[in-house]
Symmetry: C2
Subunit: 365 residues, 2 copies
């Protein structure tokens, strides 16, 4: 952990007057082997880096610590960064500092860009040099913590809503894990499209407050798991149309409850497994209720032919943020407190908002 202490001294990197095609020396959170993040991560000094003809040098503003970042460092995620010399972080926002002479994208110093697609791994650094196609220009009039986090949770929510079953205004979807950031985004994105949401949350202290919060976000119905343990689950829906689409990020009992709410011929998409339990499907659900079950993993999705679509979706999401129609809780932590943010992101200090590391004092931007 000591190696991760960013001292005031270290942070005061003075950006030298830009040499023609040099990105300034920078600090990066790196690792050389897989393992426990607080054991293997180290703060490294890198650079200055010379820009290739089509490279863009970006001064990173902010990047979150996602659960998948932790899993990547632990080496338990299917996509393994190359070690030694891996830089942590898969998403983040920065400000264009300099562009190579052959860059054709409309990118100028000062523009905000996000690291996308995610193959552009390594966002936990104060500067980053990557080819132009790995940066996507975004509006710069939203809080930077939203630009920094738009490509994982909100984009997942939008893909779930748009890319599995054709939904129309007035339709209904059902989801479990509704209090997660993806769940909260699903509620708000559905509302923006006139789609009603049936939301399933855990039975636990505070579930009434959680219901209230989700309702404030636009949830149509919210049930705890125990409330759905009734014989005729459809009777709880009132006049709502039965949903053709369901989202599952829990597995186990929560997945079973979600599929019970689906209409005949419906589809459930599993995108997480918080309970670490399997999804159990009766053969009659397949044969007579004609349910379909699919998986969704954003990395597979984005690394297919969906990059252009996804960039449009990202722009749409940040437009919604600007309009106040998409909100979720983040905590901006200065880079010097990276170790603290890491502990919070790992749940070592109890439930916390998503940790977003800001790399520079605002005064220096």
């Amino acid at each position: 952990m000591a190696s991760l202490q960013v001292t005031q001294e270290q942070e005061r990197i003075t950006s030298p007057p830009m040499a023609s095609l040099l990105c300034p020396p920078y600090k990066a959170v790196m690792y050389d082997q897989y393992g426990e993040p607080d054991k293997v991560l180290r703060l490294a000094d890198v650079g200055p880096v010379e820009l290739g003809a089509r490279d863009v040098c970006v001064k990173m503003l902010a990047a979150p610590i996602n659960p998948s970042d932790i899993n990547s460092i632990e080496g338990v995620y299917p996509n393994k960064p190359t070690v030694p010399g891996a830089v942590g972080g898969i998403e983040g926002v920065g400000q264009v500092q300099a562009v190579g002479p052959a860059v054709t994208a409309s990118l100028s110093p000062g523009d905000w860009v996000i690291a996308f697609p995610h193959t552009a791994m390594g966002t936990w650094q104060t500067y980053a040099v990557k080819p132009q196609e790995l940066w996507h220009k975004v509006r710069n009039d939203v809080p930077m913590e939203y630009a920094a986090t738009v490509t994982v949770n909100p984009l997942s929510a939008l893909v779930l809503l748009q890319c599995f079953t054709k939904l129309n205004p007035g339709d209904t979807i059902v989801q479990n894990g509704a209090t997660s950031i993806v769940g909260q985004c699903v509620i708000q994105l559905a509302k923006a499209q006139g789609i009603r949401t049936i939301n399933i949350i855990r039975d636990r202290p505070g579930s009434e407050q959680a219901k209230h919060r989700l309702t404030q976000l636009g949830a149509h119905l919210v049930f705890t798991e125990s409330q759905l343990r009734v014989k005729n689950v459809k009777s709880l829906l009132g006049t709502l149309p039965e949903p053709a689409l369901g989202f599952d990020c829990v597995g186990g009992n929560a997945a079973s409850l979600t599929m019970r709410v689906l209409r005949k011929g419906g589809t459930m998409v599993t995108y997480g497994g918080m309970s670490k339990e399997h999804v159990n499907v009766s053969t009659s659900s397949f044969i007579f209720k004609d349910l379909s079950f699919k998986g969704f993993w954003l990395w597979n999705w984005v690394n297919s032919d969906k990059v252009v679509d996804c960039k449009k979706m990202i722009d749409y999401l940040l437009d919604l943020v600007k309009e106040g129609k998409l909100t979720y809780q983040t905590e901006l932590t200065p880079f010097r407190d990276f170790g603290l943010a890491l502990n919070k992101a790992q749940g070592k200090l109890g439930a916390q908002p998503k940790q977003v590391v800001s790399f520079w004092d605002k005064a220096k931007l």
Copy 2:
């Protein structure tokens, strides 16, 4: 049961010289309430029935006793025939006897027709009158037990192979329950299309003979469930491409083994649940292996917009029968022994070939 004894006396129905638009009086196996087949079935005398303008009178030749017929009579099948007055049987072949004056289909006395689509329920009768669109003309140079049984098991096998994932010659599929008639048809139909099959069967006495029999039919690989309980199941496939499509008619452990053989992004279709156990899917199979799971029920399928396609598929299947490329074991039982056939179909006399009832002595055809 006594009511089901067809005496020699009863069977000697003498077809009267056809009145202009009358179908002769006939015998039907009927039921007036749901229940145990040997309790609720009765042999009824019906008719003569007057033909409507677009009706066709068919002298039924043969009809099988399928498990779904039993379930329908028991009232446990989702599609419930209307009682009282339901006639058993969903598939069968007959010979056109007379056509109504406004019939436009190319149907002439002597033609072989099958009851299709299955909405034309009630094939356990010596004559049947139904509108022209509920009869499909088929070739009459195959054994009648194949024409009588083509619309349930062989058609299911062909839909499974053709309608879920685009397969090309050289591709591979995997299936469990491979010794079932559907399973045997899948093997032969796949072979006819140049598709290789990986087959999973139960561990039981005689499994070596079963392997041999399936291999004779064209199976590429046959494994018992226990043989697949190895860490690297893909090592068993040798040079075979990993299958993109799998069929499950068992659920439980057999379903889990089937999905393990599938390639990343593959689809498993569940069309039966012989083990009466659920299909268990790990969330990582959804998320990281990107597997999809669907159901298939022929009744749903045929009652959609697939009737024209299915008729072409039925013709293709009977062509294969004629060419000797599609074979499965049936037992032709005379109508007078209907009660015996019913017992055999219900498994009361041990494992038996599919029971097909022939309504007339060959000499009378």
